[in-house]
Symmetry: C2
Subunit: 295 residues, 2 copies
């Protein structure tokens, strides 16, 4: 027999609050009601979901698995009704978009006014965070879509292309890079290569694209943002890779740098709009990607 969505909500709240009474309060029902609901659920699952004890409840292994599934099912059900209520009017109302820090400041200033024009009824809630956290938020239903850069592990996601962003080699003015038209990836394999700090997808993409190893040792620097990174390169601390998008947005305008394309096709990242696979936001994600591509 199938459980009820209500029972799954009870389970989710019970897991979140760690107590029948508090979960019941959160569910706006009384404690015995929630208690009975959980018992029904346990009957449906054929196994207890929590170990009851005086000091808080703890989930059984079955319960933990069930909570994961329940949360997933509930977001999908909510999605379903939201999508239906928005039907025929894509990109109207609330839309929660995550954006990575190495894209947000360079793409959004130009794109947001265009978006506002194309979708006047759209209320865009932006959240800037690292790819990993954005993806977690997508999967939990806390975000509707995210503007991220590939390559990245997109298991469980679907995506639409916004555009490709080439990576440029950056060095202090008067650096040897200035002599040639394009820089060979090999030339970037040097101890004074500066990257963003760990956790930024651009860091791994830069390394991967040029098949480099991360520099190690005392004199290896890591920057916390592209702005800092550009300043560090400009003041002669080393060389780096900068997305073309950031250059076009004027990030390097006031810094004395040499910027050169990198030989070969690998030095790029793909900017995409991603959403939870199977989400009813798929059509809107594609639409958003189209609109951003145009901007």
């Amino acid at each position: 027999m199938l459980p009820t969505l209500r029972q799954l909500q009870y389970l989710k709240l019970l897991a979140e609050h760690g107590s029948f009474s508090r979960a019941a309060e959160a569910a706006h029902v009384t404690q015995p009601t929630l208690s009975a609901g959980i018992q029904e659920l346990e009957k449906a699952l054929g196994a207890p979901v929590v170990d009851r004890s005086r000091s808080g409840v703890i989930l059984t292994p079955v319960g933990r698995e069930a909570v994961r599934g329940a949360a997933d099912i509930l977001t999908r059900a909510e999605d379903l009704v939201q999508a239906a209520r928005r039907a025929g009017r894509p990109l109207t109302g609330r839309f929660r978009l995550g954006v990575i820090p190495t894209v947000a400041p360079f793409l959004l200033p130009a794109a947001l006014p265009a978006l506002r024009r194309a979708f006047p009824e759209l209320k865009l809630y932006l959240r800037e965070d690292l790819t990993a956290r954005l993806i977690a938020a997508l999967k939990s239903g806390a975000l509707d879509a995210a503007l991220i850069a590939l390559p990245y592990d997109t298991t469980g996601l679907d995506h639409a292309e916004v555009g490709e962003d080439r990576l440029l080699a950056a060095a202090p003015a008067n650096h040897a890079f200035a002599q040639s038209e394009a820089v060979d990836p090999e030339e970037l394999n040097r101890p004074d290569l500066i990257l963003l700090e760990d956790g930024h997808c651009l860091r791994d993409q830069a390394l991967g694209a040029c098949r480099l190893e991360a520099p190690r040792g005392e004199d290896a620097y890591a920057a916390t943002s592209l702005h800092t990174l550009v300043q560090m390169v400009g003041s002669g601390l080393g060389v780096s890779l900068i997305p073309q998008m950031a250059v076009q947005a004027g990030l390097t305008d006031s810094v004395p740098l040499v910027l050169r394309p990198i030989a070969g096709a690998g030095a790029r990242r793909d900017i995409v709009v991603a959403w939870r696979a199977g989400s009813s936001r798929a059509a809107e994600g594609r639409l958003l990607a189209e609109a951003l591509k145009a901007a």
Copy 2:
């Protein structure tokens, strides 16, 4: 307000049967009951899901979207209870595994006895089909996992590695390939290259791995199975690429062929066990991949 799982079942059956009466029969309820259920659902969604007419019902755009979501939610809910009921005893009972035709005959004969030994309570239901259909079946819940080969678009799926399978260049005996230790991918770019017919993932993987174009024109052949392919190469019709796995299983034993490795690391496919992302079968999928890797 959230709809009921029951209501989503009604919707799914209504879409499948195209009539309230027949859907009601399938749901083991009366027509008015199902009718009321659908009306409740429409209230929850804020829009009609079907256009009623004398000659069968037709889904509205909202309804179509809702059916997709409903089917997804229902399989996940069923998954949830199945997983709970199987808890603590992974890979016992029914497990529906899809396998692609270019893997099944070469991996399974050796692997199945080992699996039987490792998981005596496992009842493995096998289905052999092309990757695209297996993936559709995974997503609809008709399969629990599938043994497929990457690279392939795995959007919405998760997977665990079983092993890599190198592709070998195959030519009739006495062919020029016999002269060298390894064959350069370029040498396969010739009009008498024979591939599997369209739809087989191996066809695209062979082309992609060696960056080849598909041969065109009147004298371009396509084989319907690896067995045929080997026979065709053996009788002098052309050259091809054969998975090492098939060779090891003895596919080419009685055919006079030259087999040579292909230079570079690209000429390979990755055999993986895949499942629907977020499915509660994930742990079992990994376990299965481990067991197959050992075999």
